[in-house]
């Protein structure tokens, strides 16, 4: 069995061991700027999925997307990457990798009971920041969101949903160096 795993890892780059979602924006953020404004105003229904191919789109695993993500440099040093999660990358070249594979809070809301418990920040192949949750807390997400939500702080911040078996869920904000900034309670 061990040799089969070694052969598998040799055949496929480490990136492909993890199931990245090709529909996830690179910075993890659902905001997208527009080339030209339009207000969604009418819909057309198609019974044949080949219409997507005609527009250069791909379907698979319940996702619609245009291209696969390029492998992100620097993740090879992250040995404890969370399986099934996505790497988020900022325009400045910071990559946020979720780490840990824990079942200490088995809510399974994202499809399995394996949850991330920390994150690492990589830039230019170097680890520049890390954070690890305590207690029964896990990250209830498959990717970090990167956004500049604190104007007085240089650069972007990291937003993650934290789930606690006692306190429920909340959004937490971190610096790119792994420093905790603030949280917002009151989520379901």
């Amino acid at each position: 069995m061990k040799y089969l795993l070694i052969i598998f890892l040799c055949l496929f780059p480490l990136n492909f061991v993890f199931s990245d979602d090709p529909s996830t924006p690179l910075n993890g953020n659902l905001y997208s700027s527009q080339n030209s404004p339009f207000i969604p105003s009418e819909s057309i229904i198609y019974s044949d999925t080949s219409i997507l191919e005609m527009h250069g789109l791909i379907t698979g695993n319940g996702r619609i997307y245009s291209t696969l993500h390029e492998p992100t440099e620097g993740i090879y040093n992250i040995l404890d990457r969370n399986v099934g999660s996505d790497i988020s990358t900022s325009e400045e070249g910071f990559s946020i990798v979720l780490t840990g594979n824990s079942e200490r809070y088995r809510h399974g809301i994202l499809g399995d009971k394996n949850e991330a418990t920390g994150f690492s920040v990589v830039k230019n192949n170097e680890l520049i920041g890390q954070y690890e949750l305590g207690g029964n807390q896990v990250f209830e997400t498959l990717r970090a969101l990167i956004a500049d939500i604190i104007p007085e702080n240089d650069g972007d911040e990291i937003l993650l949903t934290v789930s606690d078996s006692t306190l429920g869920s909340r959004i937490e904000v971190f610096s790119l160096q792994g420093e905790f900034f603030n949280s917002m309670y009151g989520m379901a």
Binding site: S23, T24, Y46
Partner: protein, 97 residues
């Protein structure tokens, strides 16, 4: 810095329990005016709502009833003529223009 809720709106959802699809909403400045809008499913995933925020007010700009339950991510095709693509649980594809 403190995160403060400025507006809220119920009866919408972006995730189905047990799914690893976290891309069931998109945000963009669709109308080109101040502030972004949100394209988000209703809580039963049978409609898509276009929502705009005005300070602490929330306005539904448009609503699209889907021919089934939303079963894919919401893909924003950001080309010269932008549009939105989604799939439903009965195998249909919806293009929103």
């Amino acid at each position: 810095m403190k995160l403060v809720e400025s507006a809220s709106f119920s009866y919408v959802s972006t995730h189905q329990i047990g799914s690893n699809n976290l891309n069931m909403a998109v945000s963009s400045n669709f109308d080109g005016r101040e502030g972004p809008e949100l394209l988000i499913p209703s809580s039963d995933f049978r409609s898509l709502l276009v929502i705009k925020y005005h300070g602490d007010q929330v306005e539904i700009i448009n609503e699209f009833v889907l021919p089934g339950r939303l079963s894919t991510n919401i893909y924003l095709e950001n080309t010269i003529i932008p549009s939105i693509w989604v799939g439903t649980d009965n195998g249909l594809i919806v293009n929103i223009l």
